[in-house]
């Protein structure tokens, strides 16, 4: 099962297994990782599951599209590798993915 690394703003790191087909958001919620609120439950409506994808991984994760892209323009502290984690589906190719969580979601 792919392993995803979640890094909190204070540096604390969680390493969790997330099944293929689940989203990076769901992986955080299932493991009670603070910092991914996911108020809308994964339908790209709230932007409370914002994360920064590690630069090395961004190419494999890909760019946001449509509603996600527009919402990311307006989240607090956006960065070039910002994504909404509910829109990142976990695949075998993402085994080892590193995402950082923004301080605004605490």
């Amino acid at each position: 099962m792919p392993i995803i690394h979640y890094i909190e703003p204070n540096g604390a790191e969680y390493e969790v297994e997330v099944p293929v087909g689940h989203t990076v958001m769901q992986g955080a919620v299932d493991n009670m990782i603070d910092g991914i609120l996911a108020e809308c439950g994964g339908v790209c409506s709230c932007a409370t599951c914002h994360c920064y994808v590690d630069e090395e991984w961004y190419g494999r994760v890909g760019e946001p599209q449509g509603a996600e892209k527009m919402m990311l323009e307006m989240v607090p502290s956006p960065e070039p590798t910002s994504r909404l984690s509910c829109q990142i589906k976990v695949t075998e190719a993402l085994d080892g993915l590193v995402v950082r969580l923004p301080s605004s979601q605490y």
Partner: protein, 407 residues
Amino acid sequence: MKERVIIVGASHAAAQLATSLRQEGWQGEILMIGDEPDAPYQRPPLSKGYLCGERDAESLLIRPAEAYTQHGIELVSGRRVVQVDRSAKQVVMENGERRSYHKLALCTGARARRLTVPGADLVGVHYLRTLADVDGIRDQVAEGCRVVIIGGGYIGLESAAALRKLGADVSVLEVQSRVLARVTAPQVSAFYQRVHTEEGVAIYTDWSVVAVEGHSVVTGVIGADGRRLSADLVIVGIGVIPNVELAEQSGLKADNGIWVDEYAATADPDIYAAGDCANHPSRLGGRRLRLESVPNAMEQAKSAAAGICGRQQCYDGYPWFWSDQYDLKLQIAGLSEGYDRVVLRGEEQSGRSFVAWYLRGNQLLAADCINRPKEFMVARQLLARSLSVDVALLSDDAVDPKEFLSI
């Protein structure tokens, strides 16, 4: 005995409260008691993706049941709490079992308001609040099936959209002169009415149901003026009633929800309440509010968890809501109640993308954003920061919404 928090209910609020208690460092026991057979699940998809079969029950779970166990949270499902004994600091379950609490959180939610006309108890009359409710509807719906939905609110309209996807023949009956009358401006109602009509839904306004017809099984509904509509299935979506009985019977104040302060605490220092069942003071116009939404449930639950752990965290966020129907993503920021004008951005009479800004004077109260996620994000910031707005800019679709924040 280790200190124990009991959470009554297994809802969005309950799931968040349990999680937040652990995050706040609560070392004692956590016991969550829900009367439904399932672990906490997401309700919003019930009238959307779950109803039309795009999502399965497992995908609705907020997290797998094992995740609670792993974090030392005991989940008791399918068991109803019938009494809170405040003097003994115990809850009593329907089988007579008593469990003691150090702190208690009431996350009892709300239940569907029942239709009371003759025939309302016929087989084929459904409500839409729980997984079991929707399973009952799905068992009965087939292509070409005639479904009459009573109530043109969000639940009714979302259900209509989902049922059209299944090929059902759908009618929506609304007692008022327009759909969504309680929550949106006439322009937004007209927009939804148009889109639903375009999608093949028959919408009847000013239509009050006086009876449901049928012998043992529903065959139709009768309107006040004697009109009759045939139906194989009726879905009632006429609002919810907060579950306040446990609080009320134990002597806690309840009036349109269990009364809590801005820290989600009741008058009993050991009892908190959060979610659809709770009525809290709001800085929005200095009044009390009871909100029916997931973000409200989650934020209030966090305040309750903080309070239980001895840290006061004020709950005063601006509410927001969403509704997905067909290809329409509606995101609502704020509460429009009390508005004196509506400013539109984009074209509401054609197409499927516009914003309705609700204002009182030059103060923004709320925004209904239809396929306008950027404006929604901007609206939330405008509200949170109480920024003044330039009405001319709001309505000018050529101006990037980002500019609204730099006034």
